[in-house]
Amino acid sequence: MTEALIETAESAAPPADAHKLPKLHGQTLEKMPEDLYIPPDALEVFLDAFEGPLDLLLYLIRRQNLNILDIPVLKITQQYIQYINLMHELRLELAAEYLVMAALLAEIKSRILLPRPPPDEEEQGDPRMELVRRLQEYERFKTAGEGMETLPRVGRDLFIAQARPELIPVSAKLAAPSLRDLLMAFRDVMQRSDLFSRHQVSREPLSVRERMSHVLSRLHEGARSFQDLVDPEEGRAGVVVCFLAILELAKSELICIVQDQPFEPVLIDVARPQATAVENEND
């Protein structure tokens, strides 16, 4: 994969475009560090593939088929720091953890390059030991996580067999759903049907919808006047909701509004199949 990336980079970046090449310490990186170059726009994606600095380090080690215990600390440290510098130069936002690790690696590196520290300092613990311990510990759980992902899982590899009798003598009431469950179910179904995107964003008072149901069921007992359908105790808001519900029902042709004679009371009734007659008239 890395080879392919280098090829693309070469063909896409002729010498004239040298200013587009990433810069490190103010100098154009004309020669990419060996086996390291990744096109700038791929860097972010590249970093996303890692679960953090430990994961990136493990990748650098494993890519060279090295045992954790045999890490050439210096080499890995340099590679890691180069990644970080490159991303920094490209102004990619880096999680703080990556920078903390860079600092730790730099410290390790300086300890390797500088003369051996006096013995009393060594008692504080070798930072390489600590790093290798952390890498090992992380790798155990990374591996364990990968292993668990492959375990057969209900809903993916296993399905529960379900069969019920046609009729179950009911003696216990169904428990009410929690509001959370209800809303999550609604969210799911709307997302599946993609109605979210098509639906108007304006807020439709649900009480209008509820009142539509209410009005409709009242009308089944017979036609009513508007006054019959309004409960004055509900106040202005209630009257408005009721009126909106009636308009909405009329619009959906679920009810009809009739006035037999001028000045007669306006009656509201459920839509009757005579609707076809009206259509004929319109013809």
């Binding site: 216990a172 169904l174 509001l179 069921s217």
Partner: protein, 235 residues
């Protein structure tokens, strides 16, 4: 990893005796029917299996017949209903099964929850309209269960061919959900936004918990506090 039964394997056995071919088809059908929430029609089964197994509807019918025969003497049976076939526990065991419900009321199925949610938000609504949004046929049991539980009621009929029933919600449902009015349900845009939804829910849960320790926990939880920001969208 999974030992899938390959179509090729199934076809290979076609020649001398069709027995083993039917056996496998029968077991695949059994698996599908046991896992499906809804009855499955021969057409549906054919659609699911035809291209990989190269079976015709006749093969499926034959395998279903075999399945029914093999289930004799078991606790469940294959039953054909209006919308297709299903495997159901024999009625003679219904009394035993009902004890499960006495111990613990059954969980509400996803299909039931979605149906109820659609009736809340889209009432008055017909069964057909619910099916259209959910994209699957609605089991008659669901509407029946919701009606029996007193959460929905028939509020009229739609004046379209067939005059289907229109369903709406009841006061009982509001009571059971601890709501004063349906307006207390979050608006559509807020449901879309998971953070706004969490904020609304934690406010509601706080209310119903009657300012118990749950409220304190919610306030201390930075996630809940952060999610409270889009509150403005509710007004």
């Amino acid at each position: 990893m999974t030992e899938t039964i390959e179509a090729a394997e199934l076809m290979a056995a076609e020649n001398p005796v069709d027995e083993s071919r039917y056996d496998k088809l029968e077991r695949i059908l059994e698996a599908l029917l046991l896992a499906s929430e809804l009855p499955l029609s021969v057409e549906q089964l054919h659609r699911l299996l035809a291209s990989d197994l190269g079976v015709g509807k006749g093969d499926i019918r034959q395998a279903l017949e075999n399945l029914a025969r093999h289930m004799q003497g078991r606790a469940a049976e294959l039953q054909e209903v209006a919308s297709g076939y299903r495997i159901q526990v024999r009625q003679e065991y219904a009394e035993w099964v009902s004890r499960l419900w006495q111990e613990k009321p059954p969980r509400l199925s996803r299909a039931l929850m979605e149906t109820l949610a659609l009736i809340c938000y889209r009432q008055p609504i017909t069964r057909g309209e619910i099916e259209e949004v959910r994209g699957v046929a609605l089991s008659p049991n669901i509407i029946r269960t919701l009606l029996e539980r007193g959460w929905i009621r028939e509020v009229g009929q739609k004046e379209v061919p067939g005059r289907p029933s229109l369903f709406g919600t009841t006061h009982q449902l509001l009571d059971d959900l601890n709501l004063k009015s349906l307006d207390d349900l979050p608006a559509l845009p807020d449901i879309k936004d998971l953070e706004a939804l969490e904020a609304t829910l934690s406010r509601h849960e706080g209310k119903t918990a009657d300012a118990g320790p749950a409220d304190v926990a919610a306030a201390a939880d930075p996630v809940a506090a952060g999610a409270a920001a889009p509150e403005a969208t509710l007004h």
